[in-house]
Point group: C2
Chain length 476, copies 2
């Protein structure tokens, strides 16, 4: 068992310094999706680079040029950094992002979003506090606490911090591909702290995310929108056809009705099934998240499995139909239904698309309508799953137990985090999601916060993980 | 047969005067739905009153006070006029409106919408030319031509011209109710010239309109919109439920699937069936109107019956779901589906609503969903049908044959014209729709026009009708 107490003690000692570091970071409004804040994003990248250099790291701010389709904007740089270069130590690639979601006090924040505001319960409010400045600074805090405690870091760190995560990660995949055999070539494993615990008490390790195939079905007929009084009853109506097609995808209990989809889903093994019961999650937690008691399943395990390891299909809406309040007697001429399938192992993107397209064509043919139908693929992204028994995970689990005194929840995210798959595919290395924040942090909402406990104990966790992963990798 | 030639000749002689009258009327932008044009609507009412007085009629401009819910606006007056008061003559109530739809050159007009512009084919372009200034002035033209021809008008005219038709006819129903036993008490029949021929060559008499019951179904569940990655598969989704319900109303061929609706529809009699084959309408006309070849039926008769004498059900759209271009991975928390039923004899408003509500409740119950569902009635309006064998129609048919040399099409409108029902119910008198314009006039569109032929021969038609209706009523 690594000797970590001097490090832990130093983290506690430096607590206020670390909070000041977060306060400085939150004060830079690095909103990547707002043109007028682009300079602040770049400023934030430089601030972060300076922090790393002050700790003795080396940094390159890799420029990415103009933003595609928005040529008046320069992309913020990807920060490629190193801390330590001992060839005898394993190399851990850490990823995070230094940009944030938009925020304005007038959106409903109780405090200024770019002034870190700490309440009596230790909740530190501020845009980026939990997503993802807190976790990124956690790595820096861990380095500083090691230095001040006189404890040697047992690994070399390879850093990849981007500034466009909240705006499509423009340029990141290209950089990872380009550097896979260069800057990143020595990486032994990857660790990302950019998601959240399932609840508020128990840390988790995340070993998978679902993919997303997003489709549309366009039905058109009349040359222009028609008056339903004048033409109702005489013509095939695109809305009637589209609703029929959309009705055929999924039943009210969420069961996907597209033939062949179920056959692609990897069967649940006993080993995997055993991961669900210990997860710290209750039906109350789910109902709180939903804001309603509309859960399909009445138990935690089924609910979690259907978020994490089974596909789902959602109907998002219809473009081209009447959508405002009030009444309009229109027969819309062209309507586009939007829906998406959340995918899981072993649903390959193209296999799923082929099944969906076949289904849509068959359903439309059944209608014998004179309208025209077009099926479109809007965007696709594959699921990512790791082996949770890999040494990278074993190490993180031990670190959680050491710092928090509990075994972590082993979770998968229902939504997608595309960078996980890119690292896995381009580097061929095990990727671990090791979150710092809790489920109540409100990452993309108003009043985003990070609890002091999560920040400080999270810093300990990240540091401890480096020791355990060094041990596991040496052993492995 | 009335001796009408001197009147007809005088109409031809006065042609240019009548066109100047229309030019003056079109020049007043009496848009009832635009606050800043309200004074122009009022100005138009006064201009019309002055025209009638100049012809020897008497006029009262009935003030209606402030506009409900828009108290900063004064309603334009209802013009109550009389021409002739010979107790031995029958009294014909004529209705029309002097306000117009909005129009701006920048909407795509080829000419200034408020300057009457006549092209080489005799098409007179201008907002209100056909809807409804041309027809209203047709009555005045007929009076003037009678005077100048030295032919006595065989009827007294009772006039009701409103200035809010394009903005909900605010105040009109109350006025009709209030005056039914007063100003309108002597009316023997009602004639309205405010709709259109089915095509461009053959006049029609319109003896019915469909009603419209407009409903919404609201399905709600989650407390707020959810991320489909995070929650998809765990919760009942309001969109899935709503699409199921909307799918149950009508099949792609327009057949209404709500139990009991069909039983309310009056059976087609042989006499009524015989009205359809002579109607001047082709499948080409329908396809031109649709801008597509998406007609449900392959023959004229079935198409017309389903516009005129059978109900239809249209799905208009969904409020609360994702509706813009692009892709959004949202589970909408509350969605409201809008649909309406076009009603025909003998579908009573409340009977239909009861059947629809029962159906919606049953369909929702089948889903066994934990979401909440609410059925709403948004607005209702009853169908109106007259006996097309009434002397009022016989007279009009004879007038058409005299002026145009053809038997008119006997038609019903698919859309609603609420004032017809109000006159029928409040006065208990036969109401006739006797249109002047043709199907290509583009009443509510850009480049609205009235053909010279329709205006001049239409003026003859209105005058001739007054003679024939006097004869028929005397006989009856």
């Amino acid at each position: 068992m690594p000797h970590l107490d001097p490090f832990f003690k130093q983290v506690d000692t430096l607590k206020d310094t670390f909070i000041e570091r977060l306060r400085e970071a939150v004060a830079i409004p690095s909103i990547s999706s707002e043109d007028e804040r682009r300079q602040d994003v770049i400023k934030m990248g430089h601030w972060l680079a300076d922090q790393i250099k002050a700790l003795g790291g080396t940094v390159e701010l890799r420029e990415l040029g103009q933003q595609p389709h928005r040529e008046h904007l320069v992309l913020p740089p990807v920060l490629l950094g190193r801390y330590g270069d001992d060839p005898k130590k394993p190399n851990i690639l850490i990823y995070g992002h230094y940009d944030v979601q938009p925020a304005q006090k007038s959106d409903g924040w109780n405090t200024d979003p770019f002034t870190l505001s700490i309440d009596e319960k230790g909740r530190m409010y501020g845009r980026g506090s939990t997503d993802d400045k807190g976790p990124v600074l956690g790595w820096l805090n861990a380095i500083e606490a090691h230095q001040k405690a006189g404890v040697e870091l047992p690994v070399n760190l390879i850093m990849c911090f981007e500034g466009m995560e909240e705006n499509g990660s423009e340029g990141l995949d290209d950089t990872i591909r380009a550097e896979a055999k260069k800057f990143f070539k020595d990486a032994d494993v990857v660790c990302i702290s950019d998601n959240y615990w399932l609840g508020t008490e128990k840390p988790c390790l995340t070993y998978g995310v679902r993919g997303c195939n997003y489709y549309s079905v366009e039905v058109s007929g009349p040359g222009a929108d028609l008056h339903s009084g004048v033409y109702g009853g005489m013509t095939h109506e695109p809305m009637t056809d589209l609703i029929r097609i959309m009705n055929s995808f999924v039943d009210p209990d969420g069961k996907i009705l597209i033939k062949g989809i179920d056959d692609l889903v990897a069967p649940l093994t006993e080993q995997e099934a055993a991961l669900y019961p210990p997860i710290a999650f209750t039906m109350n937690d789910l109902h709180e998240g939903l804001g309603s008691e509309t859960s399909i399943y009445d138990n935690k395990e089924d609910s979690l499995k259907h978020k994490m390891r089974y596909p789902s299909l959602s109907l998002h809406g219809i473009e081209g139909a009447f959508y405002t309040p009030g009444a309009k007697t229109v027969i819309p001429a062209k309507v586009i239904g939007k829906f998406s399938v959340r995918t899981v192992p072993n649903m390959e993107i193209d296999e799923v698309t082929a099944l969906v397209e076949k289904h849509v064509n068959e359903e439309f043919a059944k209608l014998k309508s004179k309208n025209k139908m077009k099926f479109n693929v809007m965007h696709v992204g594959k699921w990512w799953v790791e082996d949770p028994n890999h040494p990278n995970y074993t190490a993180a689990a031990k670190a959680v137990e050491r710092v928090f005194g509990v075994k972590p929840d082993m979770t998968r995210e229902g939504g997608s985090i595309p960078v996980t798959l890119t690292f896995q595919e381009e580097l061929g290395k095990n990727v671990l999601l090791l979150p710092m924040g809790s489920s109540t942090d409100g990452a993309h909402s108003i009043n985003e916060k990070l609890d002091k406990r999560n920040y400080i104990e999270g810093t300990k966790l990240l540091g401890a993980y480096l020791h355990y992963v060094a041990g596991e990798l040496k052993r492995g």
